[in-house]
C-alpha cells in the first residue's frame, strides 16, 4: 500500500511530519510526499524542497515528488484534468512517481478544491483521509463533494489546535475524527527552528523582552478589504502591540505584500513610538515565535495565533474583528469560522471556552451551510436564544432573519438625503446629540469623512455601535 500525502506549504509538511511522529499514519505503508506549492508566484519564492529544515522533515517520508513542478506554468489550484484523460493521468503519474500498480491511499488537505480534488479524481479508487489545514477545518464544508469522493472518505485527521473543539468540516459525511496531540507538532517546529538560520533582523531581536510579533494578513487580493481598510487593520495590530506593552514590533509581512506598504506601516509605528523591524524570513511563523519568544503574537485570524497560544504557551491577540467581520461575504466565506474562533478565544476581552465555544462554532457553521447541516438547527436555535450577545456579535442579522432564527434586533430603516446625513442620524440615535458631535469631530480630526467612508468611520467607533448594510439607504441599528 502506498500513501500519497499532499502538502501545499511548509507548515503542511511540518503538520504531516507531526502526524507521522504521533503515529497517526498507518505503519507499513510507503509514504510519498506530494508537494503542491500553493503560492501565487512560485517563481519568486523558495521551492519547498529547498526550504531550510525541509530535509529533516522529509525523513518521515520514503519519497518526495513535486506536482507543482510537473504541471508548471499551471498552478496546482488550477489543475483540473479532463474527465476522459483521468485514466491517462493515473498511468502517467504512477510511472512518473514510481508507484507501480500498488493500491494507493490519499491524504489530502483542502479536499473541496484542486489539487486535492484532482488527485481524488485521478486515483479514483483510493480511500481518502483529509488532514486539516489549520483553523478552516473547524468550519463547514464549503463546496459540494462529488458522491464518488464522499464515499471514500475514511477520516479527518487534525491537530487539536483549539483544545477539545470538534471540527465541523465534512461532518455531513461523518468521517472518523482523529485528533492529533499538539506536542508532536510543537516538537517538529522546534526541530525545524533548530535546523534553520534566522535572518540578521530576527537574530537582532531574540532575547529582547519587549517584542511583539505581528503576523500580517493581506486581505486586499482576496477582495475582503479595501487598501484603506487593510491599512486600518495593520494599524490596529500596532495599537494592540502598544497595549501589550511592546516597544518593538517584529513584523512578518504576508508573502504577497510589497515593500511599499511596509514603508507606510513603518511611519505608522514611528507615530505610535514603536520600532518596526521587518522580518524577511521565508519560514512558518512558528519558527519566528521560537526564535524571538515574543511578549505577544498579534494577527487577525491566522492559525498561527493558536499555535502560539496552544503549542508554545505564548500570549496571542486577535484584532480587527469589527473591521473584517462585516466585510466578509458571502456569509459562507470559509474564513468566517477562523475569524470567529480568533475573536471569541483570543480577541479583546474574549473568554468563550468549552461547550459554549463548540455551541458557537456549530451555530455559525449552521448559519453558513444550513442546507448541508440541517441536523445542527435545533442546537443552533437553542444556543442563539441562550447567548444573545454572541449571536449579535458573530451572526449577521440578515442571516438570522433569512433562516428564521431568533433575532432580537429590530430593524430600523434610516433615511436621509446623503450617506453623511444618514451616518449622522445613526450616530445621534446611538450616542445622543452630544456624543455624535464629539465622534464626528474626532473622525474629521483623523481625516475620515462621514460622507466618503461612513462604514469605516463608524467602524472606528468599535463594536458597540452599529453594523451597516451594504446600501447606505438601509442602515440597521439595535
Amino acid at each position: 500500500m502506498i500513501a500519497l500525502l499532499a502538502a501545499s506549504t511548509l507548515y503542511q509538511v511540518a503538520s504531516l511530519a507531526a502526524l507521522a511522529d504521533a503515529g497517526a499514519l498507518p505503519s507499513g505503508q510507503r509514504r510519498v510526499l506530494v508537494l503542491a506549492n500553493g503560492s501565487q508566484q512560485p517563481e519568486l519564492t523558495t521551492p519547498l524542497q529547498q526550504a531550510p529544515g525541509f530535509a529533516e522533515l522529509s525523513t518521515r517520508f520514503d519519497a518526495v515528488v513535486d506536482l507543482a513542478e510537473l504541471i508548471w506554468p499551471r498552478r496546482p489550484q488550477a489543475f483540473s484534468p479532463r474527465e476522459e484523460e483521468l485514466l491517462m493521468w493515473q498511468r502517467l503519474l504512477r510511472s512518473h512517481w514510481g508507484l507501480g500498480s500498488e493500491p494507493v491511499t490519499l491524504y489530502l488537505e483542502s479536499i473541496q478544491v484542486n489539487p486535492a480534488m484532482a488527485l481524488a479524481r485521478i486515483f479514483h479508487d483510493a480511500p481518502i483521509t483529509v488532514h486539516s489545514d489549520g483553523l478552516m477545518s473547524y468550519g463547514p464544508t464549503r463546496n459540494r463533494l462529488p458522491v464518488a469522493v464522499a464515499q471514500r472518505l475514511d477520516a479527518l485527521v487534525y491537530v487539536d489546535l483549539v483544545p477539545g473543539l470538534t471540527p465541523v468540516l465534512l461532518r455531513e459525511f461523518a468521517p472518523q475524527l482523529t485528533p492529533v496531540p499538539r506536542a508532536p507538532l510543537a516538537a517538529v517546529f522546534r526541530e525545524l527552528a533548530a535546523a534553520t538560520r534566522p535572518s540578521a533582523a530576527a537574530t537582532s531581536l531574540s532575547g529582547a523582552g519587549d517584542v511583539a510579533l505581528m503576523l500580517g494578513q493581506y486581505l486586499v487580493p482576496l477582495g475582503v478589504l479595501t487598501p484603506e481598510q487593510q491599512a486600518e487593520l495593520d494599524e490596529q495590530m500596532l495599537v494592540a502591540a502598544l497595549h501589550a506593552g511592546a516597544r518593538t514590533v517584529a513584523y512578518k509581512p504576508h508573502p504577497s505584500v510589497s515593500a511599499g506598504s511596509t514603508a507606510a506601516l513603518r511611519e505608522e509605528a514611528a507615530e505610535l513610538g514603536l520600532a518596526l523591524v521587518v522580518l524577511p524570513d521565508e519560514v512558518p511563523a512558528e519558527l519566528l515565535m521560537l526564535w524571538l519568544t515574543p511578549r505577544v503574537v498579534i494577527s487577525g485570524f491566522s492559525t498561527s495565533l493558536f499555535t502560539a497560544a496552544e503549542l508554545f504557551g505564548l500570549p496571542a491577540a486577535a484584532v480587527g474583528f469589527e473591521l473584517v467581520g462585516p466585510e466578509l461575504s458571502p456569509y459562507q466565506n470559509s474564513n468566517r469560522v477562523p475569524l470567529v474562533l480568533a475573536d471569541a478565544v483570543l480577541g479583546p476581552g474574549a473568554s468563550v471556552t468549552g461547550p459554549e465555544l463548540q455551541g458557537l462554532v456549530d451555530a455559525v457553521a449552521y448559519c453558513m451551510q444550513s442546507h448541508r447541516l440541517p441536523q445542527l438547527r435545533e442546537d443552533a436555535e437553542a444556543f442563539l436564544t441562550r447567548h444573545p450577545r454572541l449571536r449579535d456579535r458573530y451572526i449577521k442579522q440578515r442571516r438570522l432573519r433569512a433562516l428564521g432564527l431568533p433575532s432580537a434586533q429590530r430593524r430600523t430603516v434610516v433615511t436621509g438625503r446623503s450617506p453623511r446625513a444618514m451616518a449622522r442620524r445613526v450616530l445621534q440615535a446611538r450616542l445622543g446629540e452630544e456624543g455624535a458631535q464629539a465622534t464626528i469631530a474626532r473622525l474629521s480630526a483623523a481625516r475620515h469623512s462621514l460622507r466618503h467612508t461612513p462604514r469605516r468611520a463608524v467602524g472606528k467607533l468599535g463594536s458597540t455601535l452599529v453594523s451597516w448594510s451594504k446600501t447606505p439607504q438601509r442602515a440597521s441599528r439595535s
Binding site: 501565487q40 508566484q41 517563481e43 519568486l44 508548471w72 506554468p73 499551471r74 498552478r75 489550484q77 488550477a78 510589497s258 515593500a259 511599499g260 514603508a263
Partner: protein, 348 residues
C-alpha cells in the same frame, strides 16, 4: 566592479509600485551570482514611488541603477536611454509588471552564446489573476540558428513579426551597434512594430530557445491598451515607420503583403473601439488610418482588403484612400469591446 556584467537588462517602469518588487526580486534570482547582471531601471515619471521601491533592491542586485525621468518620455525613449548605460555584450528588456522564473536570463544568455546568433527569442506565460497560459513564440524550429528574414512570412499566419515583444528574448550587443535595437523616439504605442521589422529584415541570425519562463501579467487596468486617448493614435506613426523600414529593403515586394495585413488588422481593431472615443478623436483616427493606407502599394492593399472578413472590411472600406467622405461622425453601430491590442494577431 571592473569586470563587465554578463547581461544588461533595461527595465523602464512608470507607476508600477504594486509590481516592481516582484520584477526585481525575480531578477535577483536569475544567476547564481546576481553580480553578473546589470539592471538599468528607468523610473519614467512615476508618481507612486516606483523608483524608491526599486532602489531598495540594490542589496540583492549589486549592479542595479535607477535612472529618474521627472517627465515621462514613454517606453521607446526610455529603452533607448537604457542602452546608453548598458555595459554587457548581451542586452535584454523587462517590463515593470512582469517577472521571470529562476534562471531564465541565465538560460537565454548561454543559448545566445552557444548558438552564436544575433538574438534569441522565447515563449512566455500570461498570468491573468490565478489563470496562466503558455504562449509560444510562433516558430516551431527551436534551438537552431535561423535567418530572421525567413520567419516573416506567410502573411496568412502569425509569425515572429507578430510576436514583437522585446522582453521575450536576449540580444547581442552587435545588434545594438548596428542600430537595430533602438526604438523610434517618442512613440507611445506599437513602438515595437517598426522595431521588430527592422530586426527581422536586417539582423543576420536568430534562434527561438526553450527557457525557464517569463511571466506576463495581464488585465492590469493601468495598462495603456485599456484607455483610448490621443497617444493610442501613435499606432499610425509606428506603422508608417515600419513602412519606411520595409521600403528601404531590396525585397520589399516580397514582404508588403505581410506588413499590409498587419496594418489592416490593427486598424480594424482600433476602429472597432471607436465607440469609446470622442467624435474628435474618432475623426483623427480616421485620418491616421487613411494616411497609413495610402502608403501601401495599391495592388497590395486591394489584395489584402479582399482577404478580410466582412466585419473588418466593413470597418475599413470607408477609410480607403479616395473613398467617399468618412461617416466617422455618425454614432458607431456596434459597441462591443475588443481584445487588447497586444492580442490583435494578424492571422485571425
Amino acid at each position: 566592479m571592473s569586470t563587465p556584467p554578463l547581461v544588461s537588462i533595461v527595465l523602464p517602469a512608470k507607476d508600477q509600485a504594486p509590481f516592481i518588487d516582484d520584477a526585481l526580486r525575480s531578477l535577483a534570482l536569475q544567476f547564481p551570482d546576481p553580480g553578473v547582471l546589470q539592471v538599468i531601471m528607468i523610473d519614467d515619471g512615476s508618481t507612486d514611488g516606483t523608483g524608491e521601491l526599486a532602489r531598495a533592491h540594490v542589496e540583492h542586485l549589486p549592479r542595479l541603477q535607477v535612472i529618474r525621468n521627472e517627465e515621462a518620455v514613454g517606453l521607446a525613449s526610455a529603452r533607448n536611454q537604457g542602452f546608453q548605460l548598458a555595459e554587457a555584450d548581451a542586452i535584454g528588456f523587462m517590463d515593470g509588471d512582469d517577472w521571470m522564473a529562476r534562471g531564465h536570463v541565465a538560460t537565454l544568455f548561454s543559448e545566445l552564446a552557444r548558438l552564436d546568433v544575433d538574438f534569441v527569442r522565447c515563449d512566455h506565460v500570461t498570468v491573468t489573476g490565478g489563470r496562466r497560459a503558455l504562449v509560444r513564440a510562433p516558430q516551431g524550429r527551436r534551438a537552431v540558428p535561423l535567418d530572421p528574414r525567413d520567419s516573416i512570412l506567410p502573411e496568412t499566419h502569425s509569425t515572429m513579426v507578430d510576436y514583437p515583444y522585446a522582453w521575450a528574448g536576449l540580444f547581442h550587443r552587435r545588434v545594438l551597434t548596428r542600430g537595430l535595437l533602438h526604438f523610434d523616439e517618442g512613440l507611445f504605442t506599437a513602438e515595437d512594430r517598426p522595431w521588430i521589422w527592422r530586426l527581422h529584415l536586417r539582423a543576420d541570425s536568430y534562434a527561438v530557445v526553450e527557457s525557464p519562463g517569463l511571466m506576463y501579467r495581464r488585465g492590469v487596468s493601468t495598462s495603456l491598451t485599456q484607455i483610448y486617448d490621443e497617444r493610442q493614435l501613435d499606432f499610425g506613426r509606428s506603422y508608417r515607420l515600419a513602412f519606411d523600414v520595409l521600403r528601404a529593403d531590396a525585397e520589399a515586394e516580397r514582404f508588403w503583403p505581410k506588413l499590409a495585413r498587419q496594418f489592416l488588422a490593427i486598424c480594424a481593431h482600433h476602429r472597432g473601439r471607436r465607440a469609446a472615443m470622442t467624435p474628435q478623436l474618432r475623426a483623427r483616427q480616421a485620418e491616421v488610418i487613411t494616411a497609413g493606407l495610402s502608403e501601401i502599394p495599391p495592388h497590395v492593399l486591394r489584395e489584402q482588403m479582399a482577404g478580410l472578413d466582412t466585419r473588418r472590411a466593413g470597418l475599413l472600406r470607408p477609410l480607403l484612400p479616395g473613398a467617399a467622405p468618412s461617416r466617422s461622425f455618425l454614432p458607431p453601430r456596434s459597441t462591443r469591446s475588443s481584445r487588447p491590442e497586444m492580442q490583435a494577431g494578424v492571422s485571425a
